[in-house]
Symmetry: C2
Subunit: 430 residues, 2 copies
Amino acid sequence: MKAEIIAVGTELLLGQIVNSNARFLSLELAALGIDVYFQTVVGDNPARLQEAVEIARGRADILLFTGGIGPTEDDLTKETLAAVLGRDLHTDRIAMDQVERFFTDRGREMTENNRKQALMIDGATPLPNGTGLAVGLALAENGRFYIVLPGPPREMEPMFTEQAKPWLLQHALTDEMPLYSKMLKFAGIGESQLETRLIDLIRNQTDPTIAPYAKEGEVTIRISTKAPGEREAMEKLGKLQDKIQALLPEHMYADIDVPLEKIIVDWMADAGLTVSAAESCTGGLLMSSITSVPGSASMFLGGVVCYSNEMKQKLLNVPKDYLEGPDAPGAVSREVAEVLAEQVRMLTDTDFGLSITGVAGPAYSERKPVGLVYIGIAERGGRTEVFELNLSGNRETIRIRSVKSILYRLWRRLEEREDVETPLGGSDLA
Amino acid sequence: MKAEIIAVGTELLLGQIVNSNARFLSLELAALGIDVYFQTVVGDNPARLQEAVEIARGRADILLFTGGIGPTEDDLTKETLAAVLGRDLHTDRIAMDQVERFFTDRGREMTENNRKQALMIDGATPLPNGTGLAVGLALAENGRFYIVLPGPPREMEPMFTEQAKPWLLQHALTDEMPLYSKMLKFAGIGESQLETRLIDLIRNQTDPTIAPYAKEGEVTIRISTKAPGEREAMEKLGKLQDKIQALLPEHMYADIDVPLEKIIVDWMADAGLTVSAAESCTGGLLMSSITSVPGSASMFLGGVVCYSNEMKQKLLNVPKDYLEGPDAPGAVSREVAEVLAEQVRMLTDTDFGLSITGVAGPAYSERKPVGLVYIGIAERGGRTEVFELNLSGNRETIRIRSVKSILYRLWRRLEEREDVETPLGGSDLA
């Protein structure tokens, strides 16, 4: 089965956004055992889109489209595909109801252009949109398969995973042995270091396959195998997973695609432990990561963003002579990271207190270099640990890496405690 | 001048990396006034690459290739292009010297395959590689222009900027007028509502052009025109910009691509005003957005994440009977949003205090629906305003939209103050 991905949108040709949809779909199709031979990007122009469709029909069995199904006049994917296939369009009743309800629920008037989002090609299967208003579609004709998905990744990705993939498995991949995959997640280690540790397994791979998977800020390995059924697949994958975990026990935190903060929230909520945080240079990024996980309310109570020295003193009683004066260690120091972590823990009466203080840049601070960051972990009845980080990158990268570092350290601390159940995130989780 | 970008590399088709090269080149070409009509990705396969080249030759004047010019067996871009053009290849002497010197300098043996990196198509202009070993090339034939660049961005980007672009300006663009663009940024209005307000301008556009630009959580319009020089371009663009601003004065916040928080930070820093925040459901996201802007330290001092009712009482003295009890309004209420904003403002002694309290989901809370959020703005010596939001989407979307809403409201408040200089973000900013 050969596939072509056609991304529709002039903003791609103007270089305003990167084509992450093509990447997502390519990964997904590879996992299904489908070869992607071409990716094409074309603008919001009916003639050129039609040309791209015709070329793709000549060289692929499965054509996947993203973009061009929104409410604006530039959105023309369904209309163009219908024209190529010689079919008419109609308004999908269920999709139209969803669009109308969206506006009525908010007491807003629906502008006419929103009607387009419910367009459907005659004979196609609608793919409902759970995170937006534009309905997708799937269509089989003369041994070819057409999937039309929205442009915005947060609409396209769930629609592919929940709607298009099952449709493909049912209609296009009936003769294939299904491909089963697991995503192994790692923290506290970089991508090339991980690859180096696994180099023998990677070089000698046959079945299952091992693919490093580069996603911003995360380190992931995908292991895949074709098998007649799930039980046999999981057995094969489990053996390889065990080998990998044995090589990296201090870094593999899950065998499903979840962020590290989810594991931390689950472990702590189950163990009845709580955490608070005092953030300086990260300005709330750590706490917003923790609270992005549903259920965090049972283990995270609150914390403080003490961005200025004054606020470190006022909100957390950091002694002035730690911060200012010729002999002061300064805000970016082990001493202050330690005090912040302990003070916020005591103020909120939580089991753990976390702190981050550093120089995110671009300006240096206190004559300390950009990327110097101290992270602290205080523990009820236990020792406070402070780690010094020397991070590279821009302001945002340094902030993100600081947050990931402290989450990793907290994860390691939880593993060391005997009173916390620390199952691998994923299949083992209840 | 029509261009097509062809990225060569099976790792792209497997979804292992994203095609950032296409984005970079598209932006660069747009700035040169060259229209990119297609982007194609093809694997390390000579037959399919040849097909892609032939299709591109039929529809573009400028063909840019990235990737497939390294030392491995899979690298075949130059060979394939030469075959299509009916030309031979030779070894470029200067490039070969550079490759040999690289190995001698390191006391390493040069493997034979490295010789490929110095390959040159007969009659082409070599483009030296300052950050790697693979030499690029530029070639003009029968009114078409071919540029071959390396795959790794850190080699491709400087080679384009320093070598390919001057070559294009000299050989291909002697008659073109450059394209000038401005990005107009809007807040407090949705994409389709924006388009509806501008529908006449959009429908009747000729020159400059108007393109809505969809980026997650942001609403942007790009206006573009070709002109012989910058002064004339800015005059044309300025007239259209003024028309657009007149239609949307309460929403257009910048004419360069910056986030709203940057404008807020700049205005407040210039006016010597400060702000603090108390966040519940957003857990630090608002404060991390403000602190993502360099220079925020002069206007943002700190704040509190009061995720639990206990912390709202403990950290900000919210009265218990506001939060609990049969007659209590509850944490998600106008009353509590008001108190939080005022309390954090007084605690930190800032000019503005912001608050966010709501139900981010997926679980409802206090028998209130997911998406119900109250945002508060307290002002020194002024009135506290609270807004009720009814947001849709998942947990992360609701949190992001809450933050964007309160930033918008703060922006509007600053505009109303007479003591704050509120220039449009962008050209007018110092």
